[in-house]
């Protein structure tokens, strides 16, 4: 978290002070990538870096010496919050999830507020999501247990994060909601813009832009924020490539990068990322979980798949040459972009980029089988 000579906006030195913490931290809470009604909010490897402030920080000697002390103070607060959350989860499991359904939303809201006071916005967002699970339809006890278990895992990760390997420790820190800044060497490449979509909640608009490095073969995510109801500033055209540098954020197996200096304007590029079949896509998500168990979805490109209608209005993306298929997530299945995909395919194979996770596959961009431009689906 220090000078790396990269021309990126720094958010590290903007350590929130306790009094206005609720404002900055609550913005960061929702930016910490999980709150959001759409499944797309649970995007792969990324939304957990804090937004911090939007202005360039003023790095004076006074703040530089105060920063480590503030960091220690914050760590202590987070530990207190984590301990409290563990206690509450234990209470919940003691009384049983069935009782939790009758409690109502107020309990979760209060717990989330305590997490924000503890300066752990990532935990606050996850707690709020817990509150929404009992009302989410059949099968909710299993889903609630899953989310509680993962939250418990995150808590344990924090409590012992000195013993974790560096990458995992960084992932735990950013999932908790501590600010992180991009480190590491800048990677210059021709980045093809794969997809761009926005998720909205009451406080923030989060824009996710997926990039594919045509030379390095890497898939990266750029996050950009805007006030609720407004579009964020950064906007890149899907299907075009730009020559730019990116710097990765720390953390094992996460794909978030910060966009650095750009050396060209976006130009149309007929390239597509190399794809795989449904089985490999599911396997890749599984492997990604080894680095980051809290990941909900992983970016993959499927080649030669056909959208197939399955039972009750849901869809699958079926391998054109095989017998396997990935289900489309229910949220994506009810959007208009899916019909664009079906129309583009017309029963024939297409190439689709999207996020593959435990709820299914969310298609974001499609290309026709032959030459043709990318069709955004979101």
């Amino acid at each position: 978290m220090s000078d790396s000579g990269v021309r990126v906006r720094r958010t590290t030195d903007q350590v929130p002070t306790p009094a206005p913490a609720s404002d900055v931290a609550s913005r960061a809470a929702d930016a910490a990538g999980s709150a959001g009604p759409a499944d797309l909010a649970d995007a792969a490897g990324g939304g957990h870096g804090a937004a911090g402030g939007d202005s360039a920080p003023a790095v004076t000697p006074a703040t530089r010496s105060a920063a480590p002390r503030r960091a220690e103070l914050r760590a202590a607060r987070v530990t207190a919050g984590v301990t409290e959350l563990e206690r509450r989860l234990a209470d919940l499991l003691r009384g049983g999830l069935a009782a939790a359904q009758e409690e109502g939303y107020g309990l979760w809201e209060e717990t989330a507020a305590r997490m924000i006071d503890a300066q752990a916005p990532g935990l606050a967002a996850r707690v709020r999501e817990l509150g929404a699970v009992p009302g989410s339809g059949p099968g909710w006890p299993a889903r609630l247990l899953e989310e509680c278990a993962l939250l418990h895992l995150l808590d344990r990760g924090w409590l012992r994060h000195g013993e974790l390997p560096d990458g995992l420790a960084a992932t735990v820190r950013s999932r908790i909601g501590l600010p992180s800044s991009p480190g590491g060497p800048p990677v210059r490449d021709r980045w093809l813009v794969l997809a761009q979509y926005d998720t909205h909640d009451t406080r923030l608009t989060t824009r996710r832009i997926w990039l594919y490095g045509t030379e390095s073969g890497r898939t990266a995510l750029v996050l950009s924020y805007g006030a609720a109801g407004r579009a964020p500033e950064l906007s890149l055209p899907v299907g075009r490539a730009l020559d730019a540098e990116t710097v990765a954020y720390p953390g094992a197996g996460q794909s978030r990068v910060a966009l650095g200096e750009r050396f060209s304007t976006p130009v149309p590029l007929p390239a597509r990322p190399p794809g795989s079949g449904p089985a490999e896509a599911a396997a890749r998500y599984g492997e990604a979980l080894a680095d980051d168990p809290w990941q909900d979805a992983y970016p993959v490109t499927l080649r030669r798949v056909v959208p197939v209608p399955a039972a009750e209005g849901s869809w699958q993306l079926a391998d054109a040459d095989g017998d396997l298929a990935l289900p489309v997530t229910p949220a994506a299945g009810s959007r208009s972009g899916l019909w664009r995909l079906v129309a583009l395919s017309g029963g024939s194979p297409v190439t689709v980029f999207g996020e593959c996770g435990h709820r299914g596959f969310t298609p974001l961009t499609a290309w026709p089988e032959g030459p043709g431009e990318a069709v955004p689906l979101c």
């Binding site: 563990e86 234990a90 509680c148 993962l150 599984g286």
Partner: protein, 536 residues
């Protein structure tokens, strides 16, 4: 991952057990394999975390459901990229807030029908990713459906089978591309004998459109055996490609048991001026109208028929008049509708249609007489009589000689050629202004010919100088945006400036007029751009 999984456990618990244990709560029941007491919830969560991550990591692809058949390929050339982008913009436009002030931006939804017609004419295929938006637009606007479905092609039908929202596309197509060709007479006969009613109607219509004689032959082969309602529908489909060769068949249908079938047969025969029915009606009508040479000026004398006999009823005259009309004038009207117009010059002293129309009519029959002749001229597509009934466009009364109404004039215009039509309407507008010209403009072919366009623009200019507000003319302005030739945009540039306020003008009218002209110019330029983009 850290884990405090108890060393006394015999193995990982199955997931369902964990969920049940969590639902009940560890206070109520200690789950098997976990330490009891205070540590139980944490141990349960540990076990659940391991199980969750393992389950998620082990997710596999599912077996495929039934695959749909691929859509039929579209042989048409793809749309140029600029036109494809334009289509997306046209489809995405939301309708404005209705009447009143519309602002200076072109109304894109009104341009969509024109764009589709041009794309269909040029024979382009729809880009597949635009089909959902196109089908949604066509679902909301029935006037758009034929053009949209023609443009969308076979893939739209394939999509409509998958999405119940787009069912209308299947109804409209009715097995469109799967009909046997006309030469395949065995399949045609087979489908005719055994198909469902909807299929047979589609088959007959398609056949009739291509080879009318074959359609009629097919129908007459099974005519006596059909049910009355079916006979009615099939007979109606003979309307397309109606010609003198259909007369014998229709004469036989005049003797049908069902009254509705007889009525339709009479109606169809009346559209054939040479048929025996038309000749009979002409003789009857000729006895009703004559020229009275004894009067100071030769006058037309009309005597309505005194009775409606069986012969008349067989020929399709409805005996019962609608409420409010006298019997005899009702019968006279029907006779005059059907009587061939060529009987009149001979009957009325060798006069030309113009002279006949100019004759005064006794006893107040002029309205009936001329209205009936209008209907006859439209039905028999007689351009001479239409010209005579229309009169000169610059005639002082808006309703020409003999009180021919505007609606009838519009229909008469339809029988004239396109240039003649445009010239007539231009003359009309030059004399009478725009206030009554909306219906007449509606029948002119799009884009408007040069002189018609100029006449409209001049009339708009005069209306602006007269000081009114532009929304009194919003109908004509809307038509002008859609129909004015795009080349006129340059001439209109001068009108888009805001003029100085004159005395006695409505306040602010100048600004509103300028805005209206700006919208008109912008729409014309947009249409020119659209046409250019759709050029291969």
């Amino acid at each position: 991952m850290s884990s405090t999984f108890s060393a006394t456990a015999t193995g990982p618990l199955p997931w369902q057990e964990l969920v049940t244990a969590a639902l009940l709560g560890t206070d109520r029941r200690t789950p098997p394999g976990l330490p009891p007491g205070r540590e139980a919830p944490a141990a349960l969560l540990d076990a659940a975390a391991v199980a969750t991550v393992r389950r998620r990591a082990g997710l596999c692809a599912a077996p495929v459901a039934v695959r749909p058949e691929p859509a039929a390929p579209d042989p048409r050339p793809p749309l140029p990229p600029a036109a494809a982008r334009r289509l997306v913009v046209l489809l995405a436009d939301r309708p404005g807030t209705g009447v009143g002030r519309r602002g200076a931006a072109p109304d894109l939804r009104e341009l969509l029908p024109q764009w589709l017609a041009l794309a269909n004419e040029r024979g382009f295929a729809a880009p597949p990713e635009a089909l959902p938006a196109l089908l949604d637009a066509a679902r909301g606007r029935t006037d758009l459906r034929p053009a949209a479905l023609a443009f969308a092609g076979p893939r739209a039908l394939w999509l409509a089978r998958l999405n119940p929202d787009w069912r209308f596309a299947l109804r409209a197509a009715q097995g469109g591309g799967e009909l046997p060709s006309a030469e395949d007479s065995d399949r045609v006969r087979g489908l005719w004998r055994q198909g469902l009613f909807a299929e047979r109607v589609a088959l007959l219509s398609a056949l009739r459109a291509r080879t009318p004689a074959a359609g009629r032959a097919l129908l007459s082969s099974t005519w006596p055996a059909e049910r009355a309602e079916d006979r009615l529908m099939f007979l109606d489909s003979l309307r397309t490609g109606l010609g003198p060769e259909d007369e014998p068949f229709l004469e036989r249908a005049l003797a049908d048991r069902s009254r509705n079938v007889r009525a339709v047969a009479a109606e169809l025969l009346s559209a054939l001026p040479d048929s025996a029915l038309a000749v009979r009606m002409g003789r009857r009508a000729a006895t009703c109208v004559a020229v009275d040479v004894t009067a100071p000026v030769p006058t037309l004398v009309v005597e309505a028929p005194h009775e409606c006999d069986a012969g008349m009823e067989r020929d399709g005259v409805v005996a019962q008049p609608p409420a409010g009309r006298g019997e005899r004038s009702w019968w006279l009207g029907q006779l005059l509708d059907v009587a061939p117009l060529r009987t009149w010059p001979g009957r009325l002293g060798g006069r030309t249609p113009q002279e006949i129309v100019a004759l005064p009519v006794a006893d107040g029959w002029q309205g009936e007489l001329h209205a009936a002749w209008c209907r006859a001229a439209v039905r028999q597509r007689d351009a001479d009589w239409a010209r005579a009934l229309l009169g000169a466009p610059s005639a002082p009364e808006a309703g020409g000689p003999g009180a021919v109404s505007l609606a009838e004039r519009a229909k008469l215009l339809g029988t004239l050629g396109t240039e003649e039509r445009a010239a007539w309407v231009a003359g009309f507008i030059g004399t009478h202004g725009l206030s009554e010209a909306f219906q007449l403009l509606g029948v002119c072919t799009v884009p408007w010919a040069g002189e018609l366009g100029r006449a409209v623009v001049d009339a708009l200019n005069i209306a602006r100088d007269a000081g009114s507000y532009p929304w009194s003319f919003s109908g004509v302005m809307g038509l002008a945006e859609r129909c004015l030739a795009p080349a006129e945009a340059d001439r209109l540039e001068g009108l888009t400036a805001i003029p100085d306020e004159t005395e006695g003008a409505a306040p602010g009218a100048g600004g509103y007029w300028a805005e209206a002209f700006q919208r008109l110019t912008a729409t014309l330029r947009l249409r020119a751009a659209m046409t250019a983009e759709l050029t291969p």
